[in-house]
Subunit: 356 residues, 2 copies
């Protein structure tokens, strides 16, 4: 039976970048990849059409899909909406609804783009970190939460950081197995000296480590991790952490490469059903101008082939096509530098198709 | 009446670096600064002597003091102690006990040390950020917290992020006033798109802003802030945020300068009583070897003169002496580079004294 891919163009540059990945997908289909494709809105686009950022229409297709490709969500026109209607609520809702607890975010420096980094070449050349972020727990979803009047008659805002043992165990297994397939070094990031939640996290990771004697587990406080990512980022192979620390550190790590327009991500459930999306945002300022970099989205498609369809050959084919266009000197505006050729979003998509 | 300074040497390199600041202080006293000095242990040293990281002996002196100079706390020999006995508990306890809610952490790049940064010169040259971190609230102190068995019979770790209106208001005033004395730009960092605590934080900051029409307030999500600190750190003047985000971002910002051995910090209460300490840790690996950099501690003393004693002249005298020794080419090991003169911790202290 053919696998089902759901495409969620989303907002801002979402539709343009997803359209380029779609071209790549069409070539793979012509060459025998057995998938059916449907499309639905998420985020602001879904609010515009259905009045909710993750409407039933999208939910039904998302639940039925084997893998999902997302552009990006969000835009200034939605900033004044009530909180539950905002685009990012759609993103949080689909992650939770589909149990996509394992967020994999590579931070890789492409040799051709070494100059794009704000860090010195020797500090980042060859950088290749995988950040594993837990995505459906922590303070993002913990109850109770809200704004209330306290016993002194004063207003206060509050949220709950929370991790159950099973939530920690399952992300630990994902992280250890990812490390086994790479450099066999796993750094678990916590704030165990202050937060009981992460003291517990550390305890469970130490236990799970016994099942992976070939992986070297280390622990680091989150403040130190933020420092070490600046000081000596190449010390890391795989980093794993909770939802909120992962939000911060994975963005920091992406930016070390200087070309966040190149970085894909995967959010997986227990059975490798996944949502794939570029690490960057919806860039409303350049939306509709055919200026965006579609490569992170195309590389997200490669991750889909690898993780959800277990098709390493097709994944490598796409990744090699991306490397080929970089080697040819083609660059979208965000990664352009003198001596290279500036191309549009759609031209970049065409170039990848040609290189396939 | 003379002001009372309490010195807390702490652990690791703490005693050596504090001894250098003490030499500087002695010169100021000889020149007429009217202070009395006492000393007490904190952290591991306090555990060794009194069985607790913030014992009553220290507490009594700390409460009576007008200002406190701390070296650093922590060391591997204390890692196996029960949580409430560990050195960092002493630090958290003294902050809370004395209501030191306003943590000021400058991240300044000294022109003489520009090469020390892992970031490209053009990205960090002239960097001068002040991070204002709330220090006695948030998930650091929020109740309830712990590790419990939940309704499903499963263990879970949990903590509470919490900010009352008055806590947000008072740190907002500190931050706006700090911005008024500098570049008049204040960036408040939150995760208001996900966390109600910080949505409330943002609301209160927006309200307080009306009292400071000369300061330009902006808001940034914490993940974006971690990116922007890498991408274009000089866009910031004063950044203000809660305790846990401040822990992460202030360490990241310090490391941008490449010379965390140079960065002081102040933790103030409502009346400018303060605890002053270097931003770096206790560096147990080099403790007792006369290798540490005492300049962050000496610069912390300068902050004490400025904030707690309102003595700008003396503060500048100390800061200029530090600049003079750097200009002379003296460097401790952590900031040494070819063409400069490597000196010990105590020799650096002597050089500052000579330059006063
Ligand atoms: C948009 C926002 C809710 C989201 C998050 O915080 O998870 C984003 O920052 C991300 O990292 O995917
Ligand atoms: C030691 C630790 C408890 C402390 C903190 O998290 O506040 C430290 O990291 C700091 O920033 O002063």
């Amino acid at each position: 039976m053919s696998k089902k891919i759901l495409i969620l163009p989303g907002d801002g540059i979402g539709p343009e970048i997803v359209a380029q990945a779609r071209k790549v997908l069409d070539v793979l289909i012509a060459d025998g990849l057995d998938v059916t494709i449907s499309e639905a809105p998420l985020g602001g686009a879904a609010y515009d059409q259905y009045g909710a950022p993750y409407p039933e229409f999208t939910q039904n297709l998302a639940r039925a899909a084997d893998a999902i490709l997302l552009g990006a969500v969000g835009g200034p026109q939605y900033d004044t909406l009530d909180r539950p209607l905002r685009p990012e609520r759609g993103l949080l809702a689909i992650r939770k609804d589909l149990n996509l607890f394992a967020n994999l975010r590579p931070a890789i420096l492409y040799p051709e783009l070494a100059n794009a980094s704000t860090l010195k070449a020797e500090v980042v050349s060859g950088l290749d970190i995988l950040i594993v972020r837990e995505l459906t727990g922590d303070i993002y979803f913990g109850q109770p939460r809200g704004i209330r009047v306290n016993a002194n008659g004063e207003r206060e805002g509050f949220n709950t950081m929370l991790y159950a043992e099973s939530e920690i165990r399952r992300i630990a297994h994902v992280a250890f197995q990812a490390a086994q397939k790479r450099g066999k070094k796993l750094c678990s990031v916590d704030k165990a000296n202050v937060l009981e939640t992460t003291e517990f996290w550390k305890e469970i990771f130490t236990e799970v480590a016994k099942e992976y004697p070939d992986v070297e587990l280390s622990h680091m406080y989150v403040d130190n991790a933020a420092m070490q990512l600046v000081r000596r980022p190449k010390q890391f192979d795989v980093m794993v952490t909770g939802n909120i620390f992962g939000d911060i550190l994975s963005d920091q790590a992406s930016m070390l490469t200087g070309s966040i327009g190149m970085l894909p991500s995967a959010s997986l459930d227990q059975n490798n059903k996944g949502l794939y999306e570029p690490s960057h945002g919806s860039a409303p300022d350049i939306a509709g101008k055919d200026l965006a970099n579609p490569l992170a989205t195309i590389l997200s498609l490669a991750m889909m082939l690898r993780y959800s369809f277990n098709d390493e050959t097709a994944a490598l084919r796409v990744e090699n096509a991306v490397k080929a266009v970089l080697a040819k000197g083609l660059r979208t505006a965000d990664i352009y530098e003198e001596g290279t050729e500036k191309v549009s979003c759609s031209a970049m998509g065409d170039a990848v198709v040609a290189a396939l």
